[in-house]
Structures are given as structure tokens and as C-alpha cells.
């Protein structure tokens, strides 16, 4: 437990996390709600603002300057060079004084002349501490994971102890510590006054050179695989009360809109502080946990007023019935089993998923939580009589509604019954929603659904689509009631790849995909044909009964075998715009998403879209 009660954590972000010039970065950090920044020296050097002007600008924006960084390769086995390094430090203290910053990050040396002897290193840090103290400054010493002699936090702590100076303490960076597999628990024993700064970064598990891993692939907490609460808890337990500060080098964030990245970044700190508080350390800045989610209550598909891409005919062929017409808007409600699809004809053109709703044990609390986590709220037009469903906007622009658990929720009153009921095409509900993400928003989406909806990454894969590699990640709740399949191309597509925007889809659950697909096909649903080669290969890989293989071939069933069972799917053609529907069956609890079959499916969709283009252009 913490030694004393504490307020909500201060949040900070290193300017190196964000794209643009220093002015862009400061403005974005302030707009996202950060309390302070770390000034990354190259950002200052390239800026036309003097240090004094930066100080004023930050004050205007309500930002403190919590750290100036980095000071590299301080210590030296060459006394002359060390003396020159001390003079270099003096210049930095002058810059910091003008900035109004009092702490500088000194990272362990990677140079050939780095000092290995801890006593000598301690003495040099002491000398720097003396110099710092005369300027009213402090030294936060950090072990780089690839430092020449100091590359663990334990060794940096030994060096700081030998420095034995009030102005010399530690900077702890979660990446450098967790990437090496070090145990952060003993940090709890470090005296609080020696913990000068705490930098936070997550990362995916990658088997690569730690320097490259650090410089290209860091992520905000909650986007990667590190146990960040397990790192932060001992830091807070030790009594650290400085800012929680992000230092994330990431190729995508470096080129993305800094205003969005900063919101994502700030969200990550709130979620981390919450998770750490749940482990008994620090203060929860959100205050309410994510309410339990139920099933998807509906999926809204926007189509153009004139062009519905045949969606109503397809839904009809799949056994859905149009059970309601919205009282004030051009929206139809289609139903089958527990699945509800809203067709909104106020869309622009084509067909796309514009919104989905999840059942929540407390919809209002879900929405409050989302807003506290920085989720924007869309401005929806609502007639006075309509149900006021809480709604927020996901990173890709999809609107996420929260509904009470149970079928007859308030919002269904918005619709005038048509009197029709579903014929039942064997669809029992929505299995999952497939949302191809904009290139810059994939990791942001992971954190959004994790923190806002309480979903967790369920599985991930990388596969070769016809036009480049695709990364995928499923997000699901523990009970697999809500599943989302997120994908993103590994590189932003250029002019060659014709399907620049991959289609989205709604996967509809069935217990008999062959029966459901056959019924749908017979009723006229435009099922996507799959190549014979696929079935020849499938037959060679798996010993399937011939009649099963024949049915697969006839109906275009894709069969993904996993350890436990099989994930079976049949897809429709892309129904105009960027949408298709899928019938999916999970055999023996298979937990997959058909990603091993995705390249075949994507190639087939491409052929279909090309054929359509050919028909259109020759018409």
C-alpha cells in the first residue's frame, strides 16, 4: 500500500511521442489534457521559439515542463572528455533555467569511453550533481537497456547510491526495465526522494535488437504486451509522486495527427492509473469500472438514399425480416434471432457500418466512462420523443451506442412495427463485427475498445493479402459476447492496391452454416464464390467426408481448422460501398476469425469488385 493518500496522478508526455513541430506538439498535449511535457532536445533545437518563449507558451497552455531530455554519454574514462561533458551540461542547465525546467534526464553511456567502474561512475555523477545543484537543477539518471555498462535499473540505482548527492536520483523507464525482463518489484524499496522521474511505454513482444525495438515499436500503455500496472505499482508503493510520463518512439505515431495521438496517449495513462489503483496503488482517475457488456444490440448500416446495394434483398434472403420502421428517420429495423440490423438510408452512398450498439449493465455509466477516457460524442439528430441512447465515437468514426441488457430496450419504441417476423434462416445472432481500421488508428482502436468497453485482445495474426500484409487483432470480452475483428494494412496502401479501403463486415452466427448458406443462396443471396483450388487443397490438408467437401465447394464455405474445432464461414459479395455479410459457425468452440482463409476471401472479393467495375464500365 502507498505510504500516504494521493490525488489523481499528474500526466505528462515527451514531445518526441508526437508528430510535427514543437508548437504542434505542445498544443496537442495541452488539448488532450496533459499536465506537463518532457521537452525532447532536438524538438527545441529545431524550433524558432527561444527557451524563454517555450516557457511562456507552455504557461499559456497550462503545461509544466517536467523534464529536459536527453543528456547522453556523460561519464568518460578520459578525464578531459568528462570535463568537456561537464561544460556541455552547464549549457543545458542554462537552457533549462530559461525553460523553467529543473530536472534533466541523463541516460547511461553507450560510448566506448563509458565508465565501467561503479565508484568512478558514482564520482562523476556526484560531480555533475554538484554542478546541477548550483543551478538549482536535478539529475534523473536512467539505465538504457543497451547501455555500455549500465543497462539495468538495479545497476543505475547502484550508481546513484554511489553518487550520493541530493541532486542525483533515478529515472525509471518501463521499456528499458521490462524489455530486459527485469523484476520491477524491488523498486518499492527505493527511497521516494531518489525516484525523480517515471517514464512509461508499452511494447509488443518482438524478438529483435532492443535498440530498434525501442526506437520504432514502443506503444502507449495498454496497446502492447507489457505488464505496466505491475511496473507502476512498486514505483507508487515506493512513494513516487511525480508525473506519469509517456516516452514512446513509434513509427506510426511519428507521422500521425498529433492532436489525435495525444488523446490516445492521455487515455492510456488514465487506464493505466486505474488498473494500478485496482492493484492497490495510487488513485483511480476514472472512478467507475467498465460495466459488464452483453451482446451486440444492433449494427447500423448506412446506405445511400437511392442506392441500397441490394442490402434489403440480401437480408431478406438470409431470413431477416424488416420488423420496424423508424418513426422519424429513414431507418428500417431488420431482425433474426438475437441479431438486429438497422438500415439507415440517410447514408451518403454505398454501404458501410456506421454504428453498433452493445448491451451494458449500466449504459449511462458506460458512456460516462467513455467520456472520461476522452472518447468524443457525436452530434446525433434526435427527435424529442426518441430514446436517448448514450453514444460515443470510436477511433475509426464508427459510433458506439450503449443499450440496457435485454431485448425490449427503450430504443425499440422508436420504431413502428411492420407486423412482419423473421422466417429464420438459421441465424442466431451477431458473432462479431469486422472493422478495417484507418492506417493511423489501429493501436488507438485497441486501447479504445480495451479501456472504454472493457474488451481484451483475444487473438492476433498477420497475413498476406493480395495487395500487401495485413495485421489483425480480435477484441472480445471474456465471455465472448462482444467480439470485434480489427485489421489494418501493415503499410499504408499506395496507388497500385485497388482495394485501398478493405471492406467491413458483419459476421452472423449460425449453428449450421451449410444449411443457412444453402437456404440463403436458394433465396437469392449473392454468396461469394470460392476457387476450386481452395477445396482441392482443403481436401488434401484435412480428411473431410466427400459430401462435406462437396457442400463446401458448392456454397463457398471456408473452413479454418484450429486445435479445438473449426471456424466455418460463407461470405456474401461486397454489397456496394465497403460492406459484406458473413455466416459463421464455430464448431466445438473454435475461437478463431478465419484469418488463415482471409487471403482467399480477399482475392475472391477483389475479383468480384473488378468484374463489377468491368460490367459498369462496359455498360
Amino acid at each position: 500500500m502507498s505510504p500516504e493518500p494521493v490525488g489523481p496522478p499528474r500526466t505528462a508526455v515527451a514531445t518526441v511521442c508526437l508528430s510535427g513541430g514543437l508548437e504542434d506538439k505542445l498544443r496537442a498535449a495541452a488539448a488532450a489534457g496533459f499536465d506537463g511535457v518532457e521537452i525532447f532536445e532536438p524538438d527545441l533545437v529545431a524550433s524558432p521559439m527561444s527557451p524563454g518563449e517555450v516557457r511562456l507558451r507552455c504557461a499559456d497552455l497550462g503545461l509544466s515542463i517536467d523534464l529536459y531530455q536527453p543528456f547522453r554519454d556523460l561519464d568518460s574514462t578520459d578525464d578531459d572528455r568528462f570535463a568537456a561533458n561537464l561544460r556541455r551540461a552547464e549549457h543545458k542547465f542554462d537552457v533549462m533555467a530559461a525553460l523553467g525546467a529543473d530536472t534533466v534526464l541523463v541516460c547511461s553511456s553507450v560510448a566506448r569511453d563509458a565508465v565501467a567502474d561503479l565508484d568512478r561512475l558514482g564520482a562523476q555523477l556526484h560531480a555533475l550533481g554538484e554542478e546541477a545543484a548550483t543551478h538549482g537543477m536535478r539529475i534523473a539518471y536512467e539505465a538504457l537497456a543497451w547501455g555500455a555498462h549500465v543497462n539495468t535499473w538495479e545497476r543505475s540505482w547502484e550508481a546513484v547510491q554511489r553518487a550520493d548527492h541530493d541532486a542525483v536520483g533515478l529515472c525509471l523507464d518501463s521499456f528499458h526495465i521490462l524489455s530486459r525482463g527485469s523484476d520491477p518489484a524491488p523498486i518499492a524499496e527505493v527511497p521516494a526522494e531518489k525516484l525523480l522521474f517515471c517514464q512509461l511505454a508499452d511494447a509488443p513482444v518482438l524478438s529483435m535488437d532492443v535498440l530498434q525495438w525501442s526506437r520504432h515499436h514502443r506503444l502507449f500503455p495498454g496497446q502492447g504486451a507489457f505488464d505496466l500496472p505491475g511496473f507502476l505499482a512498486p514505483v507508487l508503493a515506493a512513494g513516487y509522486r511525480g508525473p506519469l510520463s509517456l516516452e514512446v518512439f513509434n513509427d506510426v505515431f511519428r507521422q500521425a495527427d498529433p492532436t489525435r495521438t495525444a488523446v490516445d496517449a492521455h487515455r492510456s495513462l488514465l487506464a493505466l492509473a486505474e488498473a494500478t489503483a485496482h492493484r492497490g496503488e495510487g488513485t483511480d482517475p476514472i472512478g467507475e469500472p467498465a460495466p459488464r457488456v452483453g451482446r451486440p444490440a444492433f449494427v447500423e448500416i448506412a446506405v445511400g438514399p437511392d442506392d441500397d446495394a441490394g442490402l434489403d434483398r440480401t437480408l431478406d434472403a438470409l431470413g431477416f425480416a424488416c420488423t420496424g420502421q423508424h418513426r422519424t428517420k429513414p431507418v428500417q429495423r431488420w431482425e433474426q434471432g438475437s441479431s438486429r440490423i438497422l438500415l439507415n438510408r440517410a447514408g451518403r452512398s454505398g454501404a458501410a457500418i456506421s454504428a453498433f450498439a452493445v448491451e451494458s449493465a449500466d449504459p449511462a455509466a458506460s458512456a460516462r466512462r467513455a467520456v472520461r477516457l476522452g472518447a468524443p460524442r457525436p452530434a446525433r439528430e434526435r427527435a424529442p420523443s426518441e430514446a436517448d441512447l448514450p453514444v460515443v465515437t470510436a477511433p475509426d468514426g464508427t459510433e458506439v451506442f450503449f443499450c440496457p441488457i435485454g431485448a425490449d430496450a427503450a430504443w425499440t419504441g422508436d420504431f413502428a412495427p411492420t407486423g412482419r417476423t423473421a422466417t429464420s434462416g438459421g441465424i442466431t445472432g451477431v458473432d462479431h463485427i469486422g472493422l478495417a481500421q484507418p492506417f493511423d488508428q489501429f493501436d488507438e482502436a485497441t486501447l479504445f475498445y480495451r479501456s472504454v468497453l472493457g474488451l481484451e485482445p483475444a487473438s492476433s495474426a498477420e497475413f498476406a493479402a493480395p495487395f500487401g500484409l495485413v495485421r489483425s487483432r480480435a477484441m472480445a470480452d471474456a465471455d465472448r459476447r462482444v467480439r470485434l475483428a480489427l485489421t489494418v494494412s501493415l503499410l499504408r496502401r499506395g496507388s497500385w492496391a485497388p482495394g485501398v479501403t478493405e471492406p467491413q463486415y458483419v459476421a452472423l452466427a449460425t449453428d449450421d452454416v451449410v444449411g443457412a448458406a444453402r437456404a440463403a443462396r436458394d433465396a437469392g443471396a449473392p454468396l461469394l464464390g470460392m476457387p476450386d483450388n481452395y477445396y482441392d487443397d482443403l481436401g488434401a490438408r484435412l480428411e473431410l467426408p466427400p459430401e462435406q467437401l462437396a457442400a463446401y465447394r458448392e456454397l463457398g464455405v471456408l473452413h479454418e481448422q484450429d486445435q479445438d474445432g473449426a471456424y466455418l464461414q460463407v461470405c456474401t459479395e461486397v454489397l456496394g460501398g465497403r460492406l459484406f455479410l458473413a455466416l459463421v459457425q464455430r464448431v466445438q468452440g473454435a475461437d478463431g476469425y478465419g484469418w488463415s482463409d482471409a487471403p482467399v476471401r480477399m482475392a475472391a472479393h477483389r475479383r468480384q469488385r473488378q468484374a463489377r467495375l468491368t460490367v459498369t464500365s462496359s455498360a
Copy 2:
């Protein structure tokens, strides 16, 4: 030496190297001049063409099918599973028979049940060989660098020897062998009839998991750091006469136009065969080495007919004189020292480098070589009286002319003298040309300039520009007469980064950058202002005389220190379009390109362009 005279090598490419569907890939391979292909099984599985149709399509295109690949995880410590794997193989033999392919790639197993015992492994390979032989097929066994028990070519060769079957031989893949640092020299001792296939791939030196390295970062020969001729020479010395086949998994190529990628790929094999022939093995398919290059003879800048972006005024201020007017085209020749700039007012708008010329000891031979290496020739309009300079088009669209060595080359007769001469602003020649590359063309450009002009990679770097990371690579001849600085953004830029297209530049050499810059400024050249912070930091890093630092600050000199000397540069503003000029001085033979200062320069250019946009939009 080879045991017998051989013809030019057969060339092949694995379909996995190229983007698109199988039809796209085959068409691109044929158009680029490949003799054959390896069919990557997932490409066939996703294709609507039956194996028999693929066979016909390839025959139509003049392509042989040299390999079917891959067959994974054949061997097993579980006899039942091995029997199932043999049945799986039978299916593949049927597919291959329909394709008209007679060799299948079997790669070493990565499975838990992989066989460690070489005798047992040999026996299983023998059994597969028996099965293959009854179908008239052959097994090319390859050691994956990450195979469970077989991960070196030496061990795969041991397994093949123990298999002791006429239908079982080796597939040698340069990546798997060179990535592990294995010595390929002893391959020369393997009997030729056991070398069934040779796959070629280059790669950059990366410190990462070899599987990820292989799957994402392979390059075509000549684009990376491997000694491919050193690999191929012993393969040919052993008597291998099968195709030289490319198997390159690369994230960029996977999403780029396959027609272009295939040309790049084919060029890589020709250049590799040439380099190997120069080591005494195989036949040189090009026949003439790259003639020696001299200096850049001219740089052509295209400007719009009305908007010259002030380029003539700037050239004048830099001490250039307009010495000639083209007799039939709206082109001016500007000169100073040995540097010549052609201002072509037939451009569209703005200013951009449209062409450059290099002196060649044999211009016609240079052009022949370029065409043999697949470089396209632009269709230039030429008046009957004009000099017919050989010209080819580089990957980024820049035209590259070849001129005879010496100042008074034939082409200068195209210009009517104006009678003016340069005032001399201290510029002695063209130091280098900076060409920001299109995202998909960076590695292609490296190979183009390497094979066509005989330049070599001189240095490379990665730096953080204001809108994302940038990769850079200098290409130069050994005498540093021709230098090119190529850059590319690490990720294709999205909507946020305003400078989607980085500017190009011409770096003009001077022996006194301060003097030249002061004269240029006084004459009205729009020099780019640099931030004071840069000079404060520079003064803290380097002990420069105060008056030198003051002159730098006054004129915007950027100072990059390296081990030997310093690379000094002063840049102009971006002169409309996407062009700036730079004055550069190399102190004590510095060999850099100012990349450590590039972020500061880019930030300054961005401010200048933003300011211009502000002025324009408020005007």
C-alpha cells in the same frame, strides 16, 4: 572455373515476390523478361485458374514453371503423421502434374515432431523420393534458417546424402545460408546433379529474429548487404545450370505495382550474373561493364512557363550566369565553375529536377547497358539539328543523360551563346543531387544507380523528420565525382504530414560556404533562416571560434561534424514546387550529407512553406 561453357542464365521469380493475384504476377513476370516462375502454393489456392489453366497461361506468356513451393513439415517422429504427410504430398504431385512442374520445394520442418535423427530423416526423404519418382517429380530439400533440426545448408546436404535417392536433391537459398553467416564456398564440391534449385535473395544487415527478417525485409540482389556473387559463384562452380530464381518476401514489394517490381527483380539477376561472371563463374548477360563516370554535366530544372519560382533571380544571386539560350526550346543554360543548370520552362508548374546528365567515358555504351538492364527510354522531342544525348528514365521519373567527358561536349552546341559569363559566387561545381524517392521506389533506385551508373551505396542513415522517420542512402562512385542523396519516408505519409512530397535539391560545391552564402544573400538570394537554438546547441557541442559561430548564425550555416572534418551547408528556401538549392563545403574531406542536420532544415523549410501558404491564402 566452371566445368563447361554455359549460356546466359535462365531467370525465374517466385510469385510470392510480387503483389496482386496470380494472373497479375504471371503477366508482370513475363513482361519483365523472366524465363520462368516458382508457383507459391497460396497464390494458386486463391486463384480461379485451375492448375491446367495456369499451365496454359504460362505457356502463352512464355514462362516455364520451375518450382512448386513450399511443402512444409514433411518429416515426423510420428509414423502415422508421416504417412499422412506422404498422402498430402501425393496430392501436390497431382497438382504439379497438371501445372507441368516437376520439382517441389520441401523445406526443413519447424514442427515439434520434426525428426532430429539424420538417418531417420534421410529414410523419410527417401520414401518421399520414391513417391515423387513414380510421378516423375523431384524433391528440392531446403534448410530453413529457423528449421527445428535442419537449419544449415550443410545439414540439409547430409540429409540429402542419407536419402540417397535420384529424385532427392538440394534447394539452396542465399538468405537462409548468408543470414546465418554460413560459408557457401564448399557448395562448389556438391555434385551438380544434387543441386536442384537455387533461390536468391539479398537483405540488409538487421539484428532481429531471422524468421521476421526473412519474411519482411528480404531484398533483390544488389539492394542489400549480402555478398550474392560470393554465394552464386560456388553454386555455378559446382555445375548448377538451373534457373537463378528470386524468392524475396518484402513488405514494400508486396504492395507495389508488380509490373515495376518485376522489372527491378529481373535487373537484379542480370547484375548479379554479371558480377558473378566477373569472379570467373557463369556467363555475363550484359557484356559490357559500366563505363567510368565523370562529373555531373548538367542538372535540368523544369519550371512552369509563367512561374519560374524566382529561380533565375536566385541563380543570378548565387553568381551563375545565363550563358546560353536553347535554339529551339524554352531552355536556358546557366553556368558557374563546372556546374551547369538548365532551366526548362516547358515544365508544368513549380520547380522540380526533371533530368541530370553524367559524364561517361562512353555515353553510347552507358545507354546500351542501361537498356539491357531494363531502364526505360523517355520519348524526348528533339529537333533534327540537336545533339542526340543518350537518355534513360530513373525509377523516380528523373531522366538520366550520358555526356562525353569534357566541357565542350556536343550538346552545348544546342545553345546560342548569350555572351554573358558567370560573376563567380564561389561555386566550383555540383556536389550532389538530392532526390526524395517515391515510397515504393527506394530500393529499386539503389539497384538502378548501382547497376546502370556503377555507383555504390556510400552511406546511409535514418532520421526523425518533423513528420516521421526518413531513411536516406547516398550513392556515389569511388572517386566521389557523382554523388546522389536518396531519401524516402519510412512509412508512406498520410493526411497529417503536410509536406507529403519532400523537396529535391541541388547541392552546389564551394570551398568557402560562409563567403559564398554572404555574397549570395547580399545579392538577394532567399537563404533559409535557421533557429537560434541550433547555434546555441552547436556552440555547446563544439568549441567553435565565436566569430565562426556568429557567421553561421547570421547566414544559416548548418555544421555537421564527423570524424575527419565537417560538412557545411546553407540552403535556400523552397523555390516554388519542390526544389531548393544548397551551398555545401566539405572541410577536410568530410564524406557526409548533412543528415544529422536534416530535421532542423526540414522544420525550417516547413515553416517557410507554411508562411507562404498563410501569405497566399490571406492575399
